[in-house]
């Protein structure tokens, strides 16, 4: 019996739906949309499109409350694959962060590598050339064998993929805490540049226009959920199911060059990269956006493995693939470019005006669903979850600083902090990344707080920073999230830049746990307030739920903020001391407050304390002051005070310059 026949045999019930991760009421909703019971292929399509990852069903309601407008926002959050911001000189910057936490926990090398591949595709699918990458990595106890294995694999995976792909890694952060012992966080960020007006949209319209799949062949990658659900139905033997997705940076590089050449050749209606839910997601999102339909012939999709069923082809998450909708008559022009780069491609269908997605296998219609009903912002469900303040939140307020005795030997404390893995130099990590390819990284020989990326042959440069102190966010999600945005902005201001916009990667535990959802809701409130204050709209990003450390509860709520800034190169400010005799100023009020500090948490082992003092208004004023001082050329270096406090800030400026410092504190 052929795989297709077998598939048609499957009797679909609410049990099948549950196995595919759908709720009974979601199964009912599908039946209402179709006016009949879905077959197994249609049910698996809904199961991936209505998954948390694709639909954001438990987070979109709150994400919509974030500020998304801004004078230079060209593509608002959710409109395109990445946010798009006008940066002047007729150029726009597309940038975004994405997480690959769960795959990296299973196979760190390939998990991290495919994360880098995925985020870069989101940039060049818009016709923008990626020019800079950053990453935010969080692991458990650095002394444990498991963490060592994860760190080695993740760093080598990011390095091997990013270096071969040829985009400089210009910044990032590495953080260790026991809460990440089981579930590391691997967030990858990419930013690209495109001329305003030359962007490509992820849309599809124009009856009869051909639909191309371009890039690697399709295999049974990443279909575990549906595969498990159907295991007693279609005999997928274990060794037939790839346990992990393998990245091919070489294929990605030629896909980049070919995509950009095609984008400039005015032959495209639209283009989208294949990420989660592969063909299903790209065909449905592009069709819904362009309010058209598609006829897709799955037997035309180039396969890497034999006898794949319809749902396997539809759900496959094989890497390095794009979907192109080409203007009728321009097929030759597109194929000439693809042949030049020796990239495999195939026409797998055409656009229709029915607003429905009709998938065929060997001439038989195997799935027929309305595109709108599948997508975020269309028929995908939207939920609000119950939220409950956790006990630890009030417990933390009971902490009192008096209980902490000042250690006799302060030199020992200083040594402890400066050698602590969270504070010490991360050169042992980033030296494995190519940070100089593209010859745009201006921070190589003179570092600033933010990474400075030159826009050649113009007066300006871009500033990038990834930031989040997850301990502050755990202690007080609202205040912690405001601090994360403020610290990113502070770093850009200290580099002589002006904050423009942010993307974010929201890493949380299980949203059905009310205490986790309380963390999520309050993070959104705090982030929104700070973004409004600094005038940095949220242009998109990613939500990653279910980051659990099974026996220790959820990971710290970790909203990694990726901020973009712009600066005139003449205002570029660096952090190293310059000349003997220069005066050192501390801007902003000093307070006797070390709660949630690395000193308290790691030296005194006090794991629970309230978030440190923070006032958004005060923070904004300090940044405005530092910004104007820099523009007036009154100072020679600027460095922000963050993890480890004032001593570490001074030590870093000293180490980078080889000059010492002499600080006297008053007696109080």
């Amino acid at each position: 019996m052929s795989a297709l026949a077998q598939e048609k045999e499957i009797v679909v019930t609410v049990e099948t739906a549950k196995q595919l991760g759908l709720l009974p009421e979601e199964f009912e909703k599908i039946k209402k949309v179709l006016g009949r019971t879905p077959n197994f292929t249609e049910l698996s399509i809904y199961s991936v499109m209505w998954s948390e990852h694709c639909s954001y069903k438990n987070s979109i309601k709150w994400l919509k409350t974030l500020p998304r407008e801004g004078k230079n926002v060209l593509a608002k959050a959710g409109e395109e694959n990445a946010g798009l911001v006008d940066i002047g000189d007729g150029l726009a910057c597309a940038f975004k962060i994405e997480s690959h936490n769960h795959p990296s926990a299973i196979e760190p090398y390939q998990g991290a590598a495919t994360g880098v591949g995925g985020i870069n595709r989101d940039i060049f699918t818009m016709g923008a050339r990626p020019i800079a990458q950053l990453n935010s990595l969080r692991f458990g106890d650095p002394k444990s064998e498991k963490t060592k294995w994860l760190v080695k694999g993740v760093v080598k995976g990011i390095g091997d993929y990013g270096n071969a792909f040829g985009i400089p890694t210009v910044g990032g952060e590495v953080f260790f805490d026991d809460c990440y012992n089981v579930n590391p966080l691997v967030n990858a960020m990419s930013a690209g540049i495109v001329k305003v007006g030359e962007t490509v949209s992820a849309t599809s319209h124009g009856k009869g226009n051909p639909v191309y799949i371009v890039g690697s062949a399709t295999g049974k990658d990443g279909i575990h959920g549906a595969a498990f659900a159907s295991k007693d139905i279609t005999e997928n033997s274990a060794d037939d199911l790839p346990s992990v997705q393998v990245g091919d940076p070489f294929q990605e590089k030629i896909l980049l060059e070919a995509s950009l050449e095609v984008a400039k050749a005015d032959v495209l209606i639209g283009m989208q990269d294949m990420g989660a839910a592969g063909i299903t997601c790209s065909t449905s999102e592009m069709s819904a956006k362009g309010e058209h339909g598609m006829k897709i012939y799955l037997d035309k999709v180039p396969l890497r493995q034999q006898n794949m069923t319809a749902w396997e082809i539809l759900l496959s998450e094989s890497q390095e693939r794009m979907l192109l909708v080409v203007k009728k008559g321009k097929e030759k022009a597109v194929e000439q470019i693809l042949d030049k780069w020796d990239i495999p491609y195939a026409v797998i269908g055409e656009v229709t005006d029915t607003k429905r997605l009709e998938y065929y296998l060997n001439g038989e219609l195997i799935a027929d669903v309305p595109a709108e009903s599948l997508v975020l912002g269309g028929g995908a469900p939207v939920y609000t979850r119950e939220s409950k303040e956790p006990a630890y939140f009030s417990e933390a307020k009971k902490f009192s600083a008096e209980k902490i005795k000042e250690p006799k030997d302060l030199k020992e404390v200083a040594k402890f902090l400066i050698t602590h893995p969270n504070i010490a130099s991360k050169r042992w990590v980033y030296e494995q990344y190519d940070s100089m390819v593209g010859t745009v990284n201006q921070s190589t020989n003179s570092p600033s707080d933010a990474a400075i990326v030159n826009i050649k042959e113009t007066e300006r440069a871009l500033a990038f920073k990834i930031d989040c102190n997850a301990r502050y966010v755990y202690a007080d999600p609202e205040k912690g999230a405001s601090i994360a945005v403020s610290e990113a902005a502070r770093n850009i201001v200290c580099s002589g830049g002006e904050p423009l916009a942010i993307t974010n990667c929201l890493n949380f535990g299980n949203p059905y746990n009310p205490e986790v959802y309380w963390q999520f809701v309050n993070v959104i409130k705090g982030m929104g307030a700070a973004c409004k204050k600094f005038g940095t709209p949220v242009t998109g990003g990613n939500v990653s739920f279910y980051n659990q450390s099974s026996y220790e509860g959820p990971v710290f709520p970790t909203p990694a903020i990726g901020m973009l800034g712009i600066l005139d190169k003449k205002n570029r400010m660096t952090l190293d001391f310059k000349q003997e005799g220069d005066l050192i100023y501390l801007i902003g009020e000093m307070r006797d407050d070390f709660s949630c500090s690395e000193y308290l948490y790691s030296f005194h082992k006090v794991k629970l304390s309230p978030a440190p003092y923070f006032d958004l208004e005060e923070e904004f004023k300090v940044q405005q002051a530092v910004g104007s001082i820099i523009k007036k050329g009154l100072i020679r270096s600027a460095h922000d005070c963050s993890d480890g406090g004032l001593f570490v800030t001074l030590a870093e400026s000293s180490i980078h310059s080889g000059k010492g410092f002499d600080i006297s504190t008053d007696e109080s």
Binding site: D160, A164, Q251, K253, E431, Y433, D434, M436, V437, N445
Partner: protein, 230 residues
Amino acid sequence: MKFGVVIFPGSNCDHDMIYVLRKIMGQEVVELWHKETSLQKCDMIILPGGFSYGDYLRSGAIARFSPIMEKISEFADKGGYVFGVCNGFQIACEAGLLPGALLHNSDRKFHCKNVFIKTQNNHTLITSGIPKDKALKIPIAHGEGNYFNDAESLKQMNENGQILFRYCDEKGNITPEANPNGSIENIAGVCNAKKNVFGMMPHPERASDTELGNTDGKFLFESILSLVQA
């Protein structure tokens, strides 16, 4: 002077080199696609850095079979100038244009950082303009830069002045600690017997732009232009 920068699938430092040659050195530069077979009458062919064919099998092992490489070998045999940087050096070795081979770095890790190199022979096209005994600060970025050759060939190369650069410390001392990848005799760059084909692992094109805060690499490009135009 007319330069031809070859572009292989996977090259990613091609445009960095083109920018330096065209915008900073003001020279005529053409892009040579690896499938073409005309060198467009260039005076010098550049094999740029990158990961041609993903560095799969061995760095440069596949790129050397591109159609253009045959023409470049003929060009080199007739005395034409060829300069390979990083991946370009690996391709030149694989193609037999340069002696030796580039193995994996001894610690099996990729390294991207500034290193210092000391010129060993100031009488070649790309070294004539470099101040004697000056330690040049040039960045490296590679995973397979560990130069190797058998003892006999090495002896000949030394005697014939074919060793162009060795890794050194800030003061110019050639020490084991200054060797970033395990290369034999700290070798960072070599040329062929006829001294018209050059290869080096460090990237001079990444140290030629004042906006990046280091222009030690410009000495090499200035050397090339001074000899050829004179």
